[in-house]
Assembly symmetry: C4
Homo-oligomer: 369 residues x 4
Amino acid sequence: MLTAADYQHLARDLVAPDVWDFIEGGAEAERTLAANLLAFDRLRLRPRVLTDVSRVDTAVSLFGRRYATPVGIAPTAYHRLVDADGEVATARGAGVADALFVVSMFASRTIEDIAAASSSGLWLQLYWLRHRDLMCSLIERAERAGYGAIMLTVDVPVMGRRWRDMRNGFAIGGGVAAVNIDPEVMAPAHLRGAGESAIARHTAQSFDTTVTWADLAWMRARSGLPLVLKGILTAEDARLAVEHGVDAIVVSNHGGRQLDGAVASLDALAEVAEAVGGACPVLFDGGVRRGGDALAALALGAHLVLLGRPPLWGLAVDGAAGVAGVLRMITEEVAPALALAGRPALARLARPGERMPPPAQRGAGGDDR
Amino acid sequence: MLTAADYQHLARDLVAPDVWDFIEGGAEAERTLAANLLAFDRLRLRPRVLTDVSRVDTAVSLFGRRYATPVGIAPTAYHRLVDADGEVATARGAGVADALFVVSMFASRTIEDIAAASSSGLWLQLYWLRHRDLMCSLIERAERAGYGAIMLTVDVPVMGRRWRDMRNGFAIGGGVAAVNIDPEVMAPAHLRGAGESAIARHTAQSFDTTVTWADLAWMRARSGLPLVLKGILTAEDARLAVEHGVDAIVVSNHGGRQLDGAVASLDALAEVAEAVGGACPVLFDGGVRRGGDALAALALGAHLVLLGRPPLWGLAVDGAAGVAGVLRMITEEVAPALALAGRPALARLARPGERMPPPAQRGAGGDDR
Amino acid sequence: MLTAADYQHLARDLVAPDVWDFIEGGAEAERTLAANLLAFDRLRLRPRVLTDVSRVDTAVSLFGRRYATPVGIAPTAYHRLVDADGEVATARGAGVADALFVVSMFASRTIEDIAAASSSGLWLQLYWLRHRDLMCSLIERAERAGYGAIMLTVDVPVMGRRWRDMRNGFAIGGGVAAVNIDPEVMAPAHLRGAGESAIARHTAQSFDTTVTWADLAWMRARSGLPLVLKGILTAEDARLAVEHGVDAIVVSNHGGRQLDGAVASLDALAEVAEAVGGACPVLFDGGVRRGGDALAALALGAHLVLLGRPPLWGLAVDGAAGVAGVLRMITEEVAPALALAGRPALARLARPGERMPPPAQRGAGGDDR
Amino acid sequence: MLTAADYQHLARDLVAPDVWDFIEGGAEAERTLAANLLAFDRLRLRPRVLTDVSRVDTAVSLFGRRYATPVGIAPTAYHRLVDADGEVATARGAGVADALFVVSMFASRTIEDIAAASSSGLWLQLYWLRHRDLMCSLIERAERAGYGAIMLTVDVPVMGRRWRDMRNGFAIGGGVAAVNIDPEVMAPAHLRGAGESAIARHTAQSFDTTVTWADLAWMRARSGLPLVLKGILTAEDARLAVEHGVDAIVVSNHGGRQLDGAVASLDALAEVAEAVGGACPVLFDGGVRRGGDALAALALGAHLVLLGRPPLWGLAVDGAAGVAGVLRMITEEVAPALALAGRPALARLARPGERMPPPAQRGAGGDDR
């Protein structure tokens, strides 16, 4: 076991084929899914030399909390599909790595159980539902359970057409459920029913497609937690996010699962980071599989990088230990990559629009930025 | 049956090989045919978020008629090659989808029969023949039968060298004929005769290769119907079309069947749309196979997108129901694609040369453009 | 038999493998050989519509002689390797097509025999030999035999490393010889000897590697024939050629047989044509296999296009008739390509640095340029 | 045996698989390793014609010594892994070719033995060790043995993650050792121990990761030998190197063995050469396999090109004779490539930022630069 891809290869044999397609697949012809990965192959890094890299620091701080690694876990639904303990195991694994774990609204374990198992930072991810009382209740539970932020996903007004799931007639079942959501509210018959669009129909019935930027004020008023928007791909929307006072944004195309043909996450990152101009942290997901990928995203302006599929591979293979293993592997690749790039601290990475200043002379009194 | 490509795969087994080559093939080495498709793979969309997409409207209006879908049927010849009812079945299918159907001059059913079967908009496509009386007669019949426009194809002064047809010695036969054209006028012996260039020779004998922009005035004087030019690929010709007062143009390279090496339709679209500058509607064909492709063309400036081969796939598989199926599939992909792109109405798509303005705030009184 | 490539496929089975490698191969890793072909695949044409293409004229005039086709035969050595009649058959084939034939200094038939068989234009190609008397004698023989120009190849100071020939130990033999060259002068032992570098050693011993632009005056003084330089790939050298008063240049990388890694011919053409600025005709060779390729080169500024390998394919398959067949096929593809491009005459093709003017209105009095 | 790749194919069968992986492999997914080679395929050369190339001179001078070839041997460790005589044989081969040989700090033969076998120029390569006394001692020994320069490698603060070695559990063994380094100083247990990271752990324990530009003064004070920095990939670091008075730099990404994703060497060369602006010589390594590759690097601004893997292929196949063979092959390709490029001397190659001036007229008095 050397790389996250090693977990992927093992996981493929351990997970039911339709669940595997649900995890690995993207929308339609999977153009964007492929583009996410290819963007990293295209990118070329410009390493600097003769900087003091004796103390490489991969820690990042967000909203007053420090994480040992710039790599966290993106929200993905129904972890019990691949492990009996589900998100509780994921939280334990994240804790081992001292990594951020963003819990999905469609987690298959309760917000409270996950919090009890967690020793690192937790955030709660939400979609905007028609049923606002349910959202309020989830936010309150997250606050009580000590979650550190609310991450609102804004790229799912409708669900992307995922041909694999449609052909498989994929539906969540086998005792796995979105346990944090009142089944009466969420049209359980549809959720449980088989059929090609069980999840998509459920989305169409439950999600509020009328939401606009003006509605963010309502959510702000519900909670004092930082509000993070996930799914920004353009400078225009990044500026709107800053104008509306969000606390962080996530550059993401939902792992290529929503608009097929959408720009690769990495290709959108520089544009977004420049538009934000440091007004708030920029997070990133989309195709990170190795420490070098994380470095690339960090160098293009991301403050923290989220992993979607890789923690699920680890979870499927070895439960909490697998999650920790994947996070550890990628983090252990980030550190030497930073050293080889001549940037011992994340803050030393050149940001878009800046020319990297000459590295500090040793003994000249620390970081030059 | 999930995508138009599913119809394609079925149709391949149902259609005689030489007819299949006639439908699917392009000119010479099929560079442009391939380029048409690859252009969509290269394109990347920039989706916007937090717009109200609760009412996605895919309707378009052209020349005073409203269509439920921005996807219509491009003119293709001899539909009876793949279905006994031919264009009558196609018209029924288009009617189910409330889609524009452009009937080919080389239709294998009469203009009047097609009109009788149609419940959506029909246009008539014409090549410019040496025999102008025949053109006049076709225009008059179209007017009487309620056709909404004349679409003049301008990219076939001679027929492209289609190696597949030449190697197959392809000729129209089996009781299929261009029934709207007086066989005495159109050199029937050549049309019916076998041989590698039956259609090409027929074209060379019947088509007027001397036609220039100045001749458009003659056609204008023949009919009060809107005049649409099909086959524009350059800004220069787009400007000439506007100067000569045409009512709409179609960006098209004839499905890669004419000049091999010609620019991909999608790659020409932005240039043409910018040159037209809104002076008349711009239609598009060339490689659209999915709703996302249609969205891409619409976003680059097309007002309506035409499909050439996909309706024939549907027609071959299931007659009128197949045509309706293909149109429905692609239209049903356009709607969520518009939602995922954050543009609930076609008019909200950014046009070339414009920066997309910030989306309207919900409740601010409707469309901001 | 539909395309030149059909001749190629047949010829491959008719020609000895080492001769085939000699004909088809390029230098070293054949990067430039591949680039020559790929350049045509990359290029995209912008066709114009509604021009009068009833009279497509593919004729070109050079140095006072008119050719029916813009496609001629580039100089290649030893045609008797593939046909017993050698260049005499090639000349007959060129005559059938009324095409220019540039006879190689290393022809395997005499200058006079070739002239006797020719009914179209002939030029003589020369390398610059150490033995200037021999060059004088060849020029005088060409003048007496009615050749129309001298084409001096300037891209072979040494021979490119052609791995195929080196691995094959290829040497000219079997009674084939450079009959126009005094064997005593040309180191016959080496020419006839087997071994990996027979031709290359021969080149090294016979060719004058000291020649510079200043030497052109010597050649000018030897003959009143037009002087054409073959092997120009840069704007700098094109300007030098004009300054030194040459009568035409040929953009060529010797079919990818000299400097491997050199720019593709087609990619160099626009730069050269712009530098020449109409001061003299620009010819082109390198990768033309179809009429559309010829059109592309003509549109980028070439006045006439030369074919290297394709006439040898025709010659190997069917002697003079095969040469004529290849020339006819490609010419017959040029005419419809010009019509489809909306440029009925070569002079109407847009040249680099110009915007194509609006096509002439029909009846407005002929060509607008 | 025609090309260096022929040696590679033979060597693969002669070398133990794990040693072969150690030689041929790169870091992680080997993106940069592949990019190094692909960069040469992408590059296109612009050959000039009609220059006097009768005397092609491939000699270069560096630090007062003349080398017959612009191709030298890059420092690579442990030559005894593939040949019993190790670096002594390599030195003999380099001597036959009159080529520069840069001896690795991790040579498996003593500095003095190598010097005794050498008849061409030798330099000593060093990493910056925590144990500075050892470095001083190596420098002194190199000076006494007549080495011409110290090449300090600056791109290995830590070792790149070489998956092949990690999966193989590769460790140096079988009696091969870094004989110039006191085993007590270099943690011999770790060096000798098997395990996936034997070399990497050894690097981490022995190399000084705190070194910065300011430390170069210490090394300068230790020796009067020229100081060469190896591993520069950016204009920023090139300028710093010039400011710190280094005597030459080597553009290199360590053969793709350090930061995976780093820019291809060839793609970094022009930027670095322009930044240096002639202030010191620029050397190059990374992907050179043929004379044409060397020409490309020389044309982009390199004064001398180093080969990493190819001499090891030659050494594995045929000892000193194999090393000489590889160097001779590539040099013999450089000379005709220079002639075909129309630049008979290295100094005549166009440098970045310059337009190549018109070549000198013959007899006009020598080189025009």
